[in-house]
Amino acid sequence: MKIGFRTLILAAGAFALSSMASGTAFAQGKVFKWANDGDVNSMDPYARNETFLLSFLNNVYEGLVRRDGNLKLEPSLATSWKLATPTTWEFKLRQGVKFHDGTPFVADDVVFSINRANAGASNMKGYFVSMKEIRKVDEQTVVLETKYPDPLMVDKLAQIFIMSKAWAEKNNATGVADLTKPDESNFATRNANGTGPFKLQSREPDVKTVLVKNAAWWDKMPGNIDVAEFNRIANAATRTAALRSGEVHFVYTVPPQDEDALSKDPNTKVVAGRETRVVYLGFDQERNELLKSNVKGKNPFKDVRVRKAFMAAIDVEAMKRTIMRGQSFPTALMVGQGINGYFKELDVRPKLDVEGAKKLLADAGYPQGFEVGMDCPNDRYVQDEAICKAVVSMLARINVKVNLNAQTRAKYFAEILRKPDYSPGNTSFFMLGWSPASTYDAHNVLEQLIQTPSAATKKGGFNPGGYSNKKVDELSDKIEQETDKAKRDAMLKEAQKIHLDEVGHIPLHQQAVVWAMRKNVDVVQRADNVFPLMYVKMK
């Protein structure tokens, strides 16, 4: 019995030693460890159209084009592209590129990938609304034809990563994992085979995902790390502790309350910059009587004076000072700086003017103010609930009593988003944030948030309050197909001017991208909160 136990321990020890040896074999060179509060939900680049997933997988997979540190497009798997006819985009493909498994990158992979992204359970189908077909011309050329001129097609393709057709077919992953078919577990959910600067070494969902440098990458890596180990640390305090103790070198989501401590710590630093996302307030301007208000028989938000009064009463600078700890960039526009179609000259907020606001309300017929319910998320945007609470007290100064209902995102969005038939969401006054992350262009904002909602045109899907202006609709539809940049920009400006004058929404601020890291780490921070590992330098 005793001998048996001792042998067991010895055997286990020997086993552990051998497995440790194999475990450390890859951990050579510069190992960069980083953490985030949530995991990448899938290794499949079309599984979820969300920033963090695309940001992470862009280290492994690449698109035909990519964005540099300043969000400008640059060649990636395509070396050049041109508009052959107004509806035909032609791409010349990079030659001699190999996938991580050694198969060469060919035109068929592009055609396969784009069709895969536009079919089945893919969440990327929205990118291809204008696409008619994609086809191979020869080994070096593919052509993408659109139904109508789409000036943003190339911008969209920066988010569509190219997979290997042979690899997908071999592993039975020609489609995206379909939740309605639970018997088909999908190989691409757990594995990845791209052309990018890093290869997927190992993956434990929700725990750790390890990438290693791809020595055979076609481009030169600006950074110097060899291994990137991604950990998920959900608890904010633990994440900060792990950074301060040096167990991780970088944290992606920094808890606002720890920013100060981390920038004062001699071993860590905080890098913050303007994020493209704009956080704003919206009104129900569609119903004839508000769902959540004591005003009966009419809708006060249909009156522009009421909306103007709200705008004038909300002090975004105070919000920035107190709630956002300086980490916000107040704005008057629904389109953030850093996005094509942002116009600095338009970005002027009306002055804070409580008395003026009261007068506007009185003129509109509400000298005693009124009561309205407000919907707000409490786990979606930086300090979202605190911002809403501030709005409540700021509006109290003009005698508007706001009844706040802040809830978790899963419940919040179900409440306020428009219904599948495009009927309005169950809200009277709400907060949202938006970044046109599919195109990096203001048209996306017009189309989704500002155009008149309609099941027929499929526009305005994320316009819960139903702001509607015919002229803006017209302009937006023209912009969609206008390929002349000067004309297009002029229309973008005009549409935003109208929206601004009518106070269609109340933009509050662009929140900040806040990253924290050890002092010996240097990164390139992108305004879209995308974190490319290829720029990471460790001393």
Binding site: N41, A47, T189, D206, V207, N235, S245, Y412, F413, N444
Partner: protein
């Protein structure tokens, strides 16, 4: 005896069904899973199609019935969040939770009994007072605070132990273990102490009071009169008689340890089932939540069954009653 086990297993199935039913009726209130399934700019009609395909528009008795029907066949579906089979997701977390709970229970039992005996035998010793004072902290501090404090001291200030994760693991087939690597063992210390602290203090106080009680009894006096050694009296007679309630409590607390591990796992980013459950709630991952809850119900049923069977083994009166066919 066999009839008893079968009866209990049958009751167990009813308990699991009831838990599943309650769980499903609650899922109506946790929010819309679609929002965590797709990117924000997914068109409304596409969302609706997905909702329809996943059967989320069906009334909850139908959803529940479907879950039971598939579950009986061993098919618990795909996790909404991770698009992987639920059983694989939960199976990969199970070892982490089991190992953590086991170590926490052992720490609680060994230290708790040891300290309990000491404080029971020497109630006036300075060390006993220290133990008792410290145990107050264990009882009164919430788990997440203890965890964060330990991280601050041992990971951030002293830098000797890791603050998160499970270290390197060795896999034996489907089971992964952190017992066989130095990083795995080091990573285990803080969470296990955090998780076991409450139970430790509970057991210590229980053993102490039982010891104080037993030491006053006649048979201890008699044992002394017989001239037995202190050691034989303290451990052979006194401790043995205090252990019956301790075993009962330990059995009951095993369930509590698994339940409390949700908090400990979240604080230490321990990749176990508790953390999985929390994240599934946040992202409204209904298949994982439902399966987890039913599984935990199964755990409790099995633990209770084992405790009942232990009573049979320990208490002859129960056996006697059982053979007569009813109690």
């Amino acid at each position: 005896m066999l009839a008893f086990i079968i009866r209990r297993l049958f009751q167990g199935i009813i308990v699991m069904l009831a838990v599943g039913l309650v769980a499903f009726s609650l899922f109506n209130f946790v929010g819309d899973p679609i929002n965590s399934l797709v990117g924000i700019d997914t068109p409304l009609d596409e969302r609706e199609k997905l909702r329809e395909q996943l059967g989320l528009n069906d009334p909850f008795p139908i959803q529940f019935g479907r879950f039971v029907l598939n579950g009986v066949q061993g098919n618990f579906g795909l996790s909404y969040r991770m698009s992987e089979p639920v059983m694989r997701v939960i199976g990969s977390r199970l070892p982490a939770t089991v190992e953590l709970s086991l170590v926490a229970a052992i720490i609680a039992l060994v230290l708790g009994v040891g300290m309990g005996v000491f404080t029971g035998l020497y109630p006036r010793a300075a060390l006993s007072r220290i133990f008792l004072t410290v145990s107050l902290i264990g009882v009164s501090l919430p788990t997440f605070l203890t965890g964060i404090l330990l991280i601050l001291v041992f990971a951030v200030w002293l830098g000797v132990l890791p603050s998160f994760g499970r270290g390197d693991v060795v896999s034996f087939g489907a089971w992964t273990s952190g017992f066989f690597t130095s990083t795995g063992l080091r990573a285990l210390i803080l969470p296990a102490v955090t998780l076991g602290l409450f139970q430790l203090t509970l057991i210590m106080r229980l053993v102490r009071s039982e010891m104080l009680e037993v030491m006053r009894t006649d048979y201890i006096k008699f044992a002394r009169a017989r001239g037995l050694t202190d050691r034989a009296i303290n451990f052979g007679h006194a401790l043995k008689n205090t252990l019956v309630p301790v075993i009962t409590i330990t059995g009951l607390q095993l369930g509590a340890i698994i339940a409390f591990s949700i908090i400990t796992e979240t604080v230490f980013s321990w990749p176990g089932m508790g953390q999985l459950f929390i994240q599934s709630v946040q992202s409204v991952d209904i298949p994982v939540m439902a399966t987890y809850l039913v599984l935990i119900a199964l755990f409790f049923v099995v633990i209770n069954l084992c405790v009942d069977l232990l009573y049979y083994a320990v208490d002859p009166r129960l056996r006697f009653d059982g053979s007569k066919g009813g109690h």
